[in-house]
Subunit: 274 residues, 6 copies
Amino acid sequence: MNPLLIRKQLEAFLNEDLCWGDLTTDALLKDETAEAVILAKEEGLMAGGPFVAELFNLLGPTEVKLLKKEGESFKSGDELVYLKGSAANLLKTERTALNLLQRLCGVATAARRLVKALEGTGVKLLDTRKTTPGLRLFEKYAARVGGALNHRFCLSDAVLIKDNHKKLVGGVRQAVKLVRERVSPVYKVEVEVESLDELVEALEAGADAVMLDNFSPEEVKEALKLVKGKVLVEVSGSVTPENARLYALKGVDFISSGYPTRRAQALDLSLEVL
Amino acid sequence: MNPLLIRKQLEAFLNEDLCWGDLTTDALLKDETAEAVILAKEEGLMAGGPFVAELFNLLGPTEVKLLKKEGESFKSGDELVYLKGSAANLLKTERTALNLLQRLCGVATAARRLVKALEGTGVKLLDTRKTTPGLRLFEKYAARVGGALNHRFCLSDAVLIKDNHKKLVGGVRQAVKLVRERVSPVYKVEVEVESLDELVEALEAGADAVMLDNFSPEEVKEALKLVKGKVLVEVSGSVTPENARLYALKGVDFISSGYPTRRAQALDLSLEVL
Amino acid sequence: MNPLLIRKQLEAFLNEDLCWGDLTTDALLKDETAEAVILAKEEGLMAGGPFVAELFNLLGPTEVKLLKKEGESFKSGDELVYLKGSAANLLKTERTALNLLQRLCGVATAARRLVKALEGTGVKLLDTRKTTPGLRLFEKYAARVGGALNHRFCLSDAVLIKDNHKKLVGGVRQAVKLVRERVSPVYKVEVEVESLDELVEALEAGADAVMLDNFSPEEVKEALKLVKGKVLVEVSGSVTPENARLYALKGVDFISSGYPTRRAQALDLSLEVL
Amino acid sequence: MNPLLIRKQLEAFLNEDLCWGDLTTDALLKDETAEAVILAKEEGLMAGGPFVAELFNLLGPTEVKLLKKEGESFKSGDELVYLKGSAANLLKTERTALNLLQRLCGVATAARRLVKALEGTGVKLLDTRKTTPGLRLFEKYAARVGGALNHRFCLSDAVLIKDNHKKLVGGVRQAVKLVRERVSPVYKVEVEVESLDELVEALEAGADAVMLDNFSPEEVKEALKLVKGKVLVEVSGSVTPENARLYALKGVDFISSGYPTRRAQALDLSLEVL
Amino acid sequence: MNPLLIRKQLEAFLNEDLCWGDLTTDALLKDETAEAVILAKEEGLMAGGPFVAELFNLLGPTEVKLLKKEGESFKSGDELVYLKGSAANLLKTERTALNLLQRLCGVATAARRLVKALEGTGVKLLDTRKTTPGLRLFEKYAARVGGALNHRFCLSDAVLIKDNHKKLVGGVRQAVKLVRERVSPVYKVEVEVESLDELVEALEAGADAVMLDNFSPEEVKEALKLVKGKVLVEVSGSVTPENARLYALKGVDFISSGYPTRRAQALDLSLEVL
Amino acid sequence: MNPLLIRKQLEAFLNEDLCWGDLTTDALLKDETAEAVILAKEEGLMAGGPFVAELFNLLGPTEVKLLKKEGESFKSGDELVYLKGSAANLLKTERTALNLLQRLCGVATAARRLVKALEGTGVKLLDTRKTTPGLRLFEKYAARVGGALNHRFCLSDAVLIKDNHKKLVGGVRQAVKLVRERVSPVYKVEVEVESLDELVEALEAGADAVMLDNFSPEEVKEALKLVKGKVLVEVSGSVTPENARLYALKGVDFISSGYPTRRAQALDLSLEVL
């Protein structure tokens, strides 16, 4: 990750909450130092510790010990982070740090749930672009911590011919042809298909990968027979921890799902001064 | 809301997804125009339409009709927004707009659930600062749409003496005294209390409002007897639609809850080119 | 204060003067070190020393000793700041630092003059939003150094129903009612009144504080009889060190005045290389 | 002036006051339109009207009529600007616009006072870099409106060898020599001199202009005899409207003074909804 | 391309030259309108017209007619752009517009030269990341206009295992293995190879594409025999219009070259007021 | 140079290439350290070393030894910079650093070529504003390293009456008159002249400097007879290393040329991990 971008965003997050100062803390505290811990009040997966460490050092130097490793499980009552430094700075940064950490732990926890459901199948989990606006780098990081691979980060770094493209261009064949002409061969061409007919068309047009969108497990089986291992196969659409295993058939390369970012809940965390 | 700030954030959201261009769309489309709708795929409450309208006009003029009013309910299958303009721009803005709208509808839907639970009790719902980093203005807007009032936006606009402050300063009395000396009387002084003893101390120290933190309904009743209507009473801590009514006692002025932002889920929406 | 915001503004101030470089100094100096002092050429009150220290460290490390404490008086000829570091950097930062310091000392000096006039009356001085564009955080800081409390920082952090609001909404009563419905109870509601009739209306409508705008001392007395200590009373309008005492009647809680920022003059300071 | 820079600063000024919204106005007003005027409550010189017009159009289109031309005098009670548009936007922009206008009118008024003192002498007034941090472009504009010419805008656009340079480099001669070698001949070389001896040295070293710093009128006369019209002569130091004429001797090309920016006071203006 | 990013960069380019204003033009011109043309003073290929049109509209509305299409050839004396609008704005934007256009035409001209050398061979030209800092989007655009396809835009959008990677990781095989595990299959894996041995290793390791770096034409022939059409083949290293054809062997998919951006010269253009 | 501006631009350059991360390097490397050198693959002049050192420290601390001094010649095969630090950071910064260094060395090399051609004539080389958009500070720095003096940096820091100004205003005389009235005498007035007649007019109008634009050497001789040393003489237009000496006549003060920036080629450099 690019630390220059991360830094800029962390500063923006802190400014959003601290604004021009902390009315309460500035009235109450001067140079006191304090120790504190971030506590989990429900179970989950640790993700975002390094960002928290950086946040607590924006206003001044703070000692930060990450008590859980990225990707490590914790249960309610566990201490996640130990902090020591200016008491005022701890309180000014508290809410921003908790808000970020609770979200990222939530995303990682949800991702891990899906990854576990796929365990042993050899099928990998991919995340999506269904992220919270402004948080993509962070949420994709949390998805990785949870065990997912990152699908494309934005519209600039991969070709994915989607339903609306096909409608507007006049079909899969025409779309693949145009992309091949105009886009560097350095990029794979993936096509979202919604039926077996479209799949055949995509295979004939020379797609590098196909995304089977909203196929039932039975339809996925049919599709795999057509594909015969010649292109990468991604299954997508409403996959959850409950039904993931049904889609994780031999021949499927990866399953992509918005579940980790869309269904994640911010975990319950708190900061306690010792 | 300040449109200059909103504009800057919407541009950042779009840049996050569009980056330097849309590899796929730029290869496929030129000057085509298209019509599209944003469809709900689950039920919820509309929130964020005006931001969506502004987003779809960042890359060029687009006709946007909001088919649901802010705060209006929708069910699965409903059309929320009608769009007409450059096909390329519709596709380039699609994901960013959906990501924002699905989150804000999710927050408003959750807030409304709590507000409904309080209906008829006269107790108002307040939101919290437990928002997604970078999205506070938007999520507080969505909470309003859902029926909540906004508690403070940041650390600069209200005094709230919290647990950690009391620990560091040596108690409620000392904290209120210091704040009264150093902060303009234009701001109310609210104190978070964790026991009836602390409540008494806060009342004696001259707090303008008290936040009963993690009190049981019975403890709230005891507290109200001590308060006797002399200060504002806020009940806080783990309030959900299921238990809210238990806390909404006569004499409680408002209930604050992180539920709308922390437990919100991004609703399932899609954009379909017609 | 939020050091991230302060830093950004100090950099902008220095960039304004340094632009792409110092034609003269870059031609004349290389790695020379030098000592220098900032001298007062007229009397006043010290305010802004920490910002000066930060400014002189933007281009490289400089040793800065603040020879006067914030809020300490100085007379013509006094040394305010001692500096030691790169001679080139001292000269490149000189004008920006002096421009900021001379303004902030000017504001603090003017504020102190008003505070002195109120000494012993128990009435506190509040500043206003009549600040120089772009310098609000700094000028409000200087007003504090001079002994004032800060009234609201911006339009977002307090409710003040002013003359133009009343005109547009149809009177005090209606305005207070609307605000009570739509704004969180966390904020006090203050009403600017221009007559005893309006004062009565504001009291009946349930304002938390009233601002008596352009009342004569006699009118203030009448007003206080009506208020009877039930709400906070702020006196405002053309208050100067000369007439402040006339308004500082028992029962008045605070006097607000634009005098410290509007009538402040930039004090005469200079930087001398030793 | 560069409208891109101006725009960016005006937005920053408005954001400083509006922050995330106007608590009071947003609670009270919706789509009302209103007319208003900006009134002078003391006499002065108009400066900054175009910036005010731009400010009132940042939040939405507003009709703005400048009732006084730039540089035109006004007296107490005069209407300076007429406004018509969204009532909410007028109130949200009011304080920022007044704060800017009152400062710029103040600077122009002070500049004009000095220019009048020099009337008929043929000596021109120059401003200085003693401006309010962040406002240089605006204050230099106001000084021009008041009748001054602008001395250099920053350290990058002209060579001025000052006292501290001479001390560090070892005298006028050495300083001029170094600058001539290293700086493009496109820039004039001006030397600040503090005695007749230094003046002689500067003339011999080949300065293009000399600044007589803190010379008495008699010393200026002596200096002019030495200069004999061969270089430009600038008189500087504590020049005020009261004593300016004493320095405006035949042979002096221009007088520079920090008076317009350092001694300016923000004029008393108000915005009244009609 | 993302117009929001383009706009921000064009504004930065104009600010770099216009700074706080145009001393000369602001002294000479007021509201005059003028017509002007941009003339070529040497032959080349048109590229960048739309950016020029946008630049000339930053300070105010200007009529711009692009007299040559993107990718069209011109010769010395040809008129490239017709302009009509504020004379002052034309002069203030002139240098920035010419500087951008002369560079982009230069890049497109150089790219076209290479593309022509490859004509009829079926081998496509790819550009590189050897662009001028800050101008990548623009120079890659110009390369496209000249007939190249764009290789990756930055380090985030494609996998390319280069020489230094191999050294640090311990060889091609290990590098491909690690990338396959950690990077989404959505990205192709390209390996830069410097010998036939490395090529074999890359093929066995399962690379999707190979870049033959600094191979002689004979070595390329040997390489193609090993590849047998199984992966994409990119030839790279010191390819110029003079020698390109030697490398454009049957089986080579594309040739990448820094020539268009590194050897481009800014064409000689001028703006003449009519 | 202003290090705050330089830093901001270097960060932008790195962000342009690194975007949100380095797909390849992040998959391959963790905490390895490495040594590397930047090698010249063609001869030239060193320029930009300090920027390279700063670039390699943006992502983390790196030891950087500049093996060639600014302005020192190097030949193919020479090591220019030694680096030691995080292997990942070296690879992530590599391309940005090379792109900047290759361009600046190219500019300095071209400038030096012209300076050499003028050696012994006493005529100085001036650069122009014909720089790459966004790189002016850097390219003017490189021109200085190559031995040129910098002509004006932008439109704000010097007066140059050009051909288009004269056309629009009605001739040299009128233009000089207007500028003298409206611009501070701190700036020299230079006039571009295109004939001997215009030269006479410029001299009579009181220009401080004249730019002889596109004069032949013979015409320059005639011009010098008219000037008689009374104003500075700049020769401009299509001056190259080949013909420069023809223009470097006694009496010419300086020659300005876009050659160093317009005809510069990015030198061939590479970074090799040891």
